[in-house]
Symmetry: C2
Subunit: 327 residues, 2 copies
């Protein structure tokens, strides 16, 4: 009922609509309408009320409420089910719980705040209330588990494109799953899966985008290494618009991957890479070495040319030192 | 206390031990000893009681109780924690729940009966009470998810070796994870994992061995395609001895894989294969074709030579038609 009242008021634009009109359209009492409008106001909707002229919609709250997202969606699968939480430990954890319970493909978990936001290798992700996109989505691809890396790379490509479209900011992708602006972290992607040896049960893709976090809102220890869209564009970014664009791009990448294979996405990944052509320091699995990142292989491995040969990196930490020739 | 009393009685062999002796050793009352012995009897232990001479151990129940398993274990990691359940939906499900809660590597879940035993591709696995080994183990290997197939293959090799040692029955491994005797299914292995893109959280390996199931105890629709160790050896097999041997072999294969790489295990797999050298029918992923299974690749893929080229099989159903030349 609240969502319907909201829709009617919105469709009415700048004009007032009398409580009587609304109550007639919806066949409920004027008192009921009044109560729903009070509830909407409590949620942060700005609705002007005039004793004779009625109600007028003046603006929504800055919350990623399902009733805000749904009318804007352009996707067929992603976000068609939305699990919204003001606060959660981690949207990935919640999405995994729902996936184990059998939720359908495309479900998204959206939170305003994460108390235990996670990045790769169990690192934390700063996720303050209402300041970013903190969401996870559930896919059930027909890939084998060996191909699950495609989900990470296609999401990085898609989020990067959506940011460009909405904000005109041109970012780069650091292997395998961060989006950076001038070396500072803007987006993290954490893909987790549950699988048998030859079939994926589900993949959960968590996306964290620093949207409207001001520089001095970041914890001190992060300030040198992170940034946000608001800092880069010198203004507030509409999170809803960005979320809808991100979902559209991910769905597009996913459909392309399923229909045409992964080569086009790999090409886009290469073109946006912050890693290829750079000297990188690699650590993990008890080894540490440096080399020139020359390409990404068809299986998602980063190919690093060292003095002793070509190394295939599938795991571990890769830090970019300098672009070849600029060192 | 029960386990201690049991150990004392067992160590005493065929001799009687008075309740007074036991109560003195353990510093508890004779009545307490008597009560514990009644409880042991209720669990199926055969303990002879004589009013003057005391108690004598005559045999254990045919149950895979932790206090039975633990004294026999030769492993350092596997089975050092045992989660025992008379009945469960599926030992893999229970192991996954424990793994999510952070259980340590090597934990095993052992059940006498599974109400929803599962094989690959969500197929059922017949698991009647006390008649088989139905267990799962939790590993946390340092492999990447791409290497998780190693767990399946090394387990197949290990279970096959343990069966040979305990029963002298020489079985074959069907790609990727069944153990057969003359084409009939004896063992199923179901490996499941939870992973990030470049790190495994946990692997759960479920093993089902048809041990003491008589031919006419199998459901009618299975009788043509399955067998049991008791049917093959014409006698009852000691499940405890087999379980302990299986755990020892899996641990051995696992340690070898971690220390020396996977080549030796692949060699053993090849030598025991029921698939290589045979014409196979492959189906899955919307495709269906036949060919000669020529080898297993380093990444666990089955290599099948068809009229049009060499196919790499990572998923799907493979059924063995006939050995080359015998068709």
């Amino acid at each position: 009922m609240r969502a319907v009242i909201l829709r009617i008021l919105r469709e009415n634009g700048d004009c007032f609509l009398s409580g009587e009109d609304i109550s007639r359209q919806l066949a409920v009492s004027r008192t009921a309408i009044w109560k729903h409008i009070q509830a909407l106001k409590r949620d942060g909707y700005v609705i002007e009320a005039h004793s004779r002229r009625g109600y007028r919609f003046c603006g929504g709250p800055d919350l990623l409420l399902p009733e805000e997202i749904e009318p804007q969606l352009t996707t067929a699968i992603l976000g068609r089910k939305i699990h919204y939480l003001p606060a959660v430990d981690s949207t990935n954890n919640e999405a995994k719980r729902l996936a184990v319970d059998g939720c359908s493909e495309g479900l998204i978990v959206v939170a305003e705040e994460q108390s235990g936001g996670r990045g790769r290798l169990a690192r934390g992700w700063f996720s303050p209330f209402g300041k970013g996109l903190w969401f996870s989505l559930v896919l059930r691809p027909s890939f084998s588990p060996q191909e699950a890396y495609k989900c990470t790379l296609m999401t990085a490509v898609a989020v990067n494109k959506a940011i460009k479209k909405v904000t005109s900011i041109d970012c780069r992708i650091k292997w395998p799953n961060d989006i950076l602006y001038e070396g500072k972290k803007l987006v993290g992607i954490l893909t987790e899966m549950s699988a048998e040896m030859d079939a994926i049960n589900y993949v959960v893709i968590g996306v964290g985008v620093n949207v409207n976090i001001a520089g001095d809102e970041f914890p001190l220890e992060l300030r040198e290494t992170v940034t946000s869209l608001a800092m880069l564009s010198l203004g507030r970014i509409d999170r809803l618009e960005l979320l809808v664009a991100v979902l559209a791009e991910i769905e597009d990448s996913y459909q392309k991957t399923l229909q045409y294979g992964f080569k086009p996405i790999l090409e886009e990944w290469r073109a946006a890479s912050a890693t290829l052509g750079c000297i990188v320091d690699v650590s993990g699995g008890g080894r540490q070495f440096s080399g020139l990142a020359v390409d990404i292989a068809d299986d998602g491995a980063l190919l690093v040319q060292t003095d002793t040969g070509l190394e295939r990196i599938l795991a571990g930490d890769v830090s970019v030192r300098a672009r070849q020739g600029e060192e």
